[in-house]
Symmetry: C2
Subunit: 304 residues, 2 copies
């Protein structure tokens, strides 16, 4: 089954303790698509400026099942982000954000994308996320992401959005900010009371929780010896998660758990190189092997 994603397609410039990359492919839609496309066909909706190196994106996605016919090229400049990480790679320092054409983005879902069974509303204005939902026909699962900026400026819209999505992914700081609960179990319950049946709280290098009404699942981040560039790890997580669900079409608790692990695996690949470079080179064997590594990482025989 297909995954529709609405998100940013950007040019990133990143400095880490290990090197730097300028004007490389970035944005939530880009990372999500690169990750999800290992598992399921992806339909990408976003906007780029006149200055965007579209050929570069096409070459990157050439061998992948990613339909970019929903990618609008508008007059103006592309979304650019410049950031830096120091040794604590969990903390991104934003040096510059240039929204460009992204600030006037009004997602138009192409006719042929409107029946996608899996929909991921990447981190954009919640009013636009709500608008996307009016354009699609009864998806099997709708998930959304958000961020601190929208929690501050568009709180009523986020609350409305919550009642229309099945699942939300957000990081621990965002969960605390949205719910005003420091404890993540309480924060997750607060969110579930407002709509979503599932809440995925991403903790970066500290792993991810998935809460449902009666269950909680945890997957650690894979303990890599060299994390090269953490940019896009969360979006790659979402791509792996949604891609796995779409590839199986199974929304059971057992399968959602596996989806969290596939998401964590994609997040762990994303950080091994700049941009989507590592996500584009991994093979099905690499993915299977990493999922096996996750299994070994947490497995213990229960004697009690």
């Amino acid at each position: 089954m297909t995954v529709l994603v609405v998100g940013s397609v950007a040019l990133d410039s990143v400095e880490t303790p290990f090197g730097r990359a300028d004007n490389v492919l970035g944005g939530s839609g880009t990372f999500f698509s690169a990750a999800a496309s290992h598992l399921a066909p992806v339909q990408l909706v976003g906007v780029i400026g006149a200055d965007f190196p579209l050929d570069k994106l096409k070459r990157a996605f050439a061998s992948r099942p990613i339909d970019i016919s929903g990618l609008e090229q508008a007059d103006g400049t592309s979304f650019r982000w410049r950031g830096r990480y120091r040794h604590d790679l969990n903390v991104a320092e934003t040096l510059e954000t240039h929204l460009g054409v992204f600030s006037n983005f009004r997602p138009k879902i192409p006719e042929q994308f409107r029946s996608a069974p899996f929909v991921f509303l990447g981190n954009i204005d919640p009013r636009l996320q709500l608008d996307v939902l009016t354009q699609v026909a009864k998806p099997k699962l709708v998930a959304c992401d958000t961020m601190n900026f929208w929690i501050e400026s568009r709180r009523p819209d986020i609350l409305k959005l919550l009642s229309h999505v099945d699942l939300i992914t957000l990081n621990d700081a965002e969960a605390r900010q949205l719910t005003e609960e420091f404890n993540l179990v309480k924060a997750a319950r607060w969110i579930m009371e407002r709509g979503p049946k599932h809440v995925v709280i991403k903790k970066g290098e500290h792993g991810a929780f998935m809460f449902t009404n009666s269950n909680v699942f945890f997957a650690p981040a894979y303990p890599l010896e060299s994390v090269f560039d953490p940019t896009g790890a969360g979006d790659s997580f979402a791509g792996g998660f949604m891609g796995y669900l779409a590839s199986t079409g199974d929304l059971s608790e057992a399968n959602l758990r596996r989806a969290v692990v596939y998401g964590s695996a994609m997040g762990s690949f994303a950080v091994e190189k700049f941009s989507v470079d590592r996500l584009l080179e991994i093979t099905p064997d690499d993915l299977r092997s990493r999922v096996g590594d996750f299994h070994r990482l947490v497995s213990f025989e229960h004697d009690a």
Copy 2:
């Protein structure tokens, strides 16, 4: 099999967002013993001052297999710690530390304790930890803890200690400080190259890693809805870990993994009430049930 622990026995005064407790039982040896004694007999070596409410300790440990004949009562005042936690319960703010008789502590291992097969060197001066090792006869496993203060002031002694222990437990900040490696995989390898076959890195609310030469295991902290007082969680972890190893006498990788989970379970109980209150009231069924919860928390069926 028996566990010998050398550690502090103190009086804690703690403020958390949920309440306060004054002059309650605390110290690494106390938490360790309360946790380990659910699984194996414990021999406790430590020092208390003339002002220590020994009856209170005896009452607390009355029904537990904890031999306190190695607890010396010295002239002077007891070790007292006063601390505060705000909403981020991962961060303790020390308001006052009064070492008292603990500053002149020279552990003397009673004759009847010297053949203990499992030895835990709680967080004291590494010179004293080394001295304890000269007093015991060929334990099956020796583990130690340490802290930032000793890493700064007694680095050469810690390095010497490392070559004499099988396992070390320390938190992530201490691992980074000791090894000058930010990455925990590299930090663990640095430590293993200097002696210990196993390195357990505790990350508080973010769980614990156990590294061996060829393996890595991770157990999350249990996502409790109300963490009441985090004091002693790390020492309770160590108690559950060593107690489980002693109860089974099995040092296989599979059993060490289970020991990490028993440690995590004890840590999760410790934080539910002030002092050792919760650790003293749990039943074997509570423990089995919590270990089962940990299993469900991370379990997924691997399809790859």
